[in-house]
């Protein structure tokens, strides 16, 4: 065995980093540590494929990333989460001529203050949980985790056009929900 192929050392040196990467995408401690373990083993088994052009960490992140994409893809398939592009729900926010049926208000809060407010976290979470499931997954990956569009499309087995349609729906619905439950004048809890 190549002396550099030492999964114990990888765990010591990169374990926390990889675990953080997995947790921020899976939000589940058990699942995240399972994925990390599988990654270290896959790295050990496939070490001859490591070309040495990137750092070990980058290489391991690549393996972990693929494992997470596979996991999410299976999850979506198993639960048969589909959403038709037809039946445009965004029509509800607009009049027939395409103007706003209810004018969006100006939101004055800044992201730093919102981040520090536990109350806002709760409202945001509850608004996200009201979205159709596939939109939730996509929105979380894209706007919360900051995953690139290509990865989101791969994980969810959708085209980029479909991704854009679903994100438009999700963001309009969230905007409306937050406007009512947080930013709306006089309704702040």
């Amino acid at each position: 065995m190549n002396s550099k192929s030492d999964p114990h050392q990888w765990l010591s040196e990169h374990g926390d980093y990889l675990y953080r990467y997995a947790m921020s995408r899976l939000h589940n401690e058990e699942l995240a540590s399972d994925m990390l373990q599988e990654t270290l083993l896959a790295g050990w088994k496939g070490f001859d494929k490591f070309a040495g052009q990137s750092s070990i960490r980058t290489w391991l992140v690549g393996i972990l990333k693929h494992k997470i994409i596979d996991h999410i893809r299976k999850e979506i398939r198993n639960r048969n989460l589909t959403e038709a592009v037809e039946n445009d729900p965004t029509s509800a926010y607009f009049n027939e001529n395409g103007s706003w049926s209810e004018a969006p208000s100006a939101w004055k809060d800044n992201p730093e203050d919102l981040c520090q407010s536990e109350q806002f976290h709760a409202v945001l979470d509850s608004c996200i949980s009201k979205l159709p499931e596939k939109q939730q997954i996509i929105f979380r990956m894209r706007d919360i985790t900051g995953e690139d569009s290509e990865t989101v499309c791969k994980s969810c087995d959708i085209t980029s056009t479909h991704l854009h349609v679903l994100l438009h729906r999700a963001r309009l619905a969230l905007r409306k929900c937050l406007e009512w439950n947080w930013f709306g004048q006089g309704t702040r809890p």
């Binding site: 065995m1 030492d6 999964p7 114990h8 765990l11 374990g15 926390d16 675990y19 953080r20 947790m23 921020s24 401690e29 540590s33 990390l36 373990q37 270290l40 083993l41 050990w44 965004t90 029509s91 926010y93 607009f94 001529n97 395409g98 103007s99 706003w100 004018a103 969006p104 208000s105 100006a106 939101w107 809060d109 992201p111 730093e112 919102l114 981040c115 806002f120 976290h121 945001l124 894209r142 706007d143 919360i144 985790t145 900051g146 569009s149 980029s160 991704l163 854009h164 994100l167 438009h168 963001r171 309009l172 969230l174 905007r175 937050l178 406007e179 930013f183």
Partner: protein, 83 residues
């Protein structure tokens, strides 16, 4: 209004995920200059993303493997790799 707000909201969302084409950009910005409703919509979509990203960073920025998790993993690695 020449370009319906619905279409502009689509461009506002798309602009967070892809580069708008030149003609889309022109349409988008000309409309935003005239329409405060769409400016508010555009800003709110950006604010949702910025706040969400910050929350995520705060939540997961400092987490670590627990000692129990780490030891368990070392054990499993030992069993699986024989080393």
């Amino acid at each position: 209004m020449k370009h319906a707000c619905k279409e502009i909201s689509r461009l506002a969302s798309n602009s967070l995920d892809r580069k708008l084409k030149l003609w889309e950009k022109v349409k988008f910005h000309v409309h935003l200059a005239m329409c405060s409703n769409c400016r508010n919509c555009d800003n709110s979509m950006k604010l949702i993303r910025e706040a969400s990203e910050l929350i995520q960073k705060t939540k997961y920025g400092n987490i670590r493997l627990s000692n129990v998790q780490r030891e368990k993993m070392h054990r499993t690695l030992k069993e699986s790799t024989g080393g």
